[in-house]
Symmetry: C2
Subunit: 132 residues, 2 copies
């Protein structure tokens, strides 16, 4: 009982809440390459994972080129020493960027908390306009 799972473009579009145009565009950019049954595209689980990675990248503000790079990082492509070292270098750079993003998020969270608190204060001040 093999998995044999495949997906139509519409299914994936619904699942990830994007348009079919978007998915075809990603194919145009060589980010995903579905099989064909006649004219119709047939997507594999691997394609689906790739889509997921792209959309996660988007949520983090990555360009498609950056996401492509990241995806390729997961397949070391049996390289030579220099390529492996270069890859590690890129990985390290990404790590540092992610750490920066972490710091940014924490700072922003703190500020949102403060802003929320000010709202709260303003609201309670509205309920008792004076000192009562």
């Amino acid at each position: 009982m093999s998995k044999k799972q495949t997906y139509s473009i519409g299914e994936l579009a619904r699942e990830f809440d994007v348009t079919t145009r978007t998915i075809r565009f990603y194919e145009d950019q060589n980010l995903v390459n579905p099989a064909r049954r006649g004219q119709t595209r047939v997507y594999s689980p691997a394609d689906r994972v790739t889509l997921k990675l792209i959309l996660r990248g988007k949520r983090l503000g990555f360009s498609l080129a950056e996401s492509r790079e990241l995806i390729q990082m997961y397949q070391p492509s049996g390289d030579n020493r220099n390529q492996l070292l270069a890859l590690q270098d890129k990985i390290q750079q990404r790590r540092e960027q992610l750490n920066q993003q972490l710091r940014d998020i924490q700072a922003l969270q703190q500020e949102l908390d403060d802003a929320d608190q000010r709202c709260e204060d303003a609201l309670t001040a509205l309920e008792k306009p004076d000192h009562v």
Copy 2:
């Protein structure tokens, strides 16, 4: 001895590693509004903070419109009840988005660690091509 600190556009551009064009563009978008001494723009510490917030937003993948919204959140603008509630709602939405980004970052960090480990393995495998 008042602070009286001001900045030229070039100073800010150098500090934040952006072009002066970029800073003028932000002014065009009403994100920052420097004073003028004659023709020349004179930036205040507040302008500088705004710039910082915009660039932090960019690192998190925010559009300028989103960063503008965030910046405005920090100045509740003595509103009425409904506006305050709407603001709290937006704050909450941002919080959820930030939490999603946190999860995305953690997943990505794990994958980078794995990829790095595979590089490491491939490199040591290169040093001893056989089992020695």
